[in-house]
Amino acid sequence: MSEPAILVEALSKRFGDLAALDGIDLQVEEGTIFGLLGPNGAGKTTAVRVLATILAPDGGRAEVLGRDVVREPAAVRRRIGLAGQYAAVDPNLTGRENLRMVGVLGQLPRAAIAPRAAELLERFSLSDAADRPLRTYSGGMRRRLDIAASLVPKPPVLFLDEPTTGLDLTSRNELWDMIRELVDEGTTVLLTTQYLEEADQLAERVAVIDGGLVIANDTPERLKADLGDTVVEMDFADEALAGRALALLEGDGLGSVEHEHRTVRVSSNRGAHVLVDVLRRFDGDGVEPDTLSVREPSLDDVFMALTGHKAVSDEIDEGEAR
């Protein structure tokens, strides 16, 4: 097997008394998408900043394509692209001017810059807006331009810090497709996210981090199967009916069943199949819930299972906006 594109060993970073990274190990194979999954404050951005040579680590080591981030930062910078958590673009420049600036600063040969900018604007559906100042762009357009900017120097390794946070569903799906295309072309992507679904959709491998520690490192399928359950929750007209439902659902095969007043909850690691089974058992017995909801395993469930505490993922996020 070839040397990993990203190698992280016992990496630590402290801010005063706080261990933002408390000794993490990661390996990302070349040409794959690696997901770093964790709630706010887990240490995702800190990890990306260390890998992108922005922050110096306090301990351990990190290499990108065999180059040490501390000893050879210039070499690392020539091999990476970074799209940070907040769209880092100049609002007074047009889309094209932003990309050209990054082309110059990314040390592209002069003649290559304009064609590269045009190509990326086209690819990210920004050609029409290319010559408008960024102040006039929507949030989704800015985010796309930010990612386009990180791609100008054709970096073989790309870091995306929460690339879809704040995007609507359409923009998110478009961005997912673009990320997949990049990887098809051979780029290695490390992306951070707070959403299990996103990691599941994109990544070949996922590390779950919490409090600066990697608490799981696996394929998304295994993580979900081991840790997250699909939950079917039903409310019934009265407790008697809920009791009858419970009787029908209990017994082997279905997963764990809980009952509380008029509510019955079935948890199973068999994904959506569990819903079909539940309805099949009710069929013919006249047991019908008033309401029914299906909840896919979430990051919270993964955290519950892994750490026994809930993921504290309040969206408001102070110091980080800097």
């Binding site: 900043r49 992108a52 040579t53 922005i54 922050l55 050879e72 210039a74 070499a75 910078r77 020539r78 091999r79 990476i80 970074l82 940070g84 958590q85 907040y86 769209a87 880092a88 673009v89 100049d90 609002p91 007074n92 420049l93 001017e97 600036m101 990054v102 110059v104 600063l105 990314g106 040390q107 100042p133 900017a149 990180s150 120097p153 906006a321 800097r322």
Partner: protein
């Protein structure tokens, strides 16, 4: 030979190469900052309206009173204008603080840190762009001065040398305010933090009134601080009289400030993300 091998070889070659792009990177940052002045003219208006108001106020409102403390051969407007030029570049340097703080806050600084660019370009590109802006603003204020009766008693060389001193001094102010901007990392705070730094520099100086009219406890500071020294130098160059001592003192102040605050600003930049 596959495309991949070529790419790898290019990269290896680049790794050995010392980036020759310092000038190219700096020019790119200067351009980007100047575009902002063109697209957001409020930034320029902010730094010109105020000095124009000061010209009108001091020339026509306070000028008569202040004239009494000047030699009769020096009309107050000729004394005032060098002070106005300095006020303009000192206040204008707030834009350096605000601009850098904005880049820190927006995350653009983070992008710059992760690019294989010259580390010095972000700061020098900012301070040089603000110097280019000063060229325009000082030229504009000279025009305003001529319109209200300002006259050169020496020659065009004296005028150009005086303008050079003002621009050099403005450049040193940009480094002070670069430090302020990086230290606070937030544009609103940068603006608020800048005023207490520049108010004593501009007002406790000989920019608008002779130092001899001030209380004795203030005169020591007011006579030797860099705004006064530079104002005296520019006056000597435009009114005539011995200029060398003040010119040298002004240059020394500017270079000293650039050295000290340039060092601090570069340190702050390294860890300002």
């Amino acid at each position: 030979m596959s495309a991949e091998t070529v790419a790898t070889r290019t990269q290896v070659a680049l790794d050995r190469h010392i980036p020759m792009g310092v000038a190219r990177d700096t020019v790119a940052i200067v351009q980007r900052n100047l575009i902002a002045y063109r697209r957001v003219p409020q930034l320029l208006v902010f730094s010109t309206i105020q000095p124009v108001i000061f010209v009108v106020m001091f020339r026509y409102v306070f000028g008569g009173a202040i004239q009494a403390s000047l030699p009769p051969s020096v009309p107050y407007v000729d004394y005032l204008m060098p002070g106005i030029f300095l006020q303009t570049v000192v206040f204008g340097a707030i834009a350096t603080a605000i601009g850098l703080a904005t880049d820190v806050k927006s995350g653009l600084m983070e992008r710059f840190h992760a690019l294989p660019m010259a580390r010095s370009a972000v700061l020098s590109g900012r301070t040089l762009a603000d110097t280019v802006r000063n060229v325009f603003v000082v030229a504009l204020m000279m025009t305003v001065g001529f319109l209200v009766g300002w006259r050169i008693h020496t020659d065009v060389l004296g005028l150009l040398a005086g303008a050079g001193l003002v621009l050099l001094f403005g450049f040193s102010m940009s480094w002070i305010f670069a430090t302020v901007g990086l230290a606070v990392g937030d544009p609103e705070t940068a603006q608020a933090a800048s005023f207490p730094v520049l108010a004593p520099l501009v007002f406790a100086s000989s920019a608008f009134v002779p130092v001899e009219t001030m209380p004795t406890w203030l005169q020591g500071f007011a006579a030797h601080q860099p705004v006064s020294v530079t104002a005296s130098a520019v006056r000597a160059l435009t009114l005539g009289g011995p200029a060398a001592a003040d010119v040298l003192a002004s240059i020394a102040w500017s270079i000293g400030l650039i050295a000290v605050f340039g060092t601090i600003a570069v340190r702050l930049y390294r860890r300002a993300v």
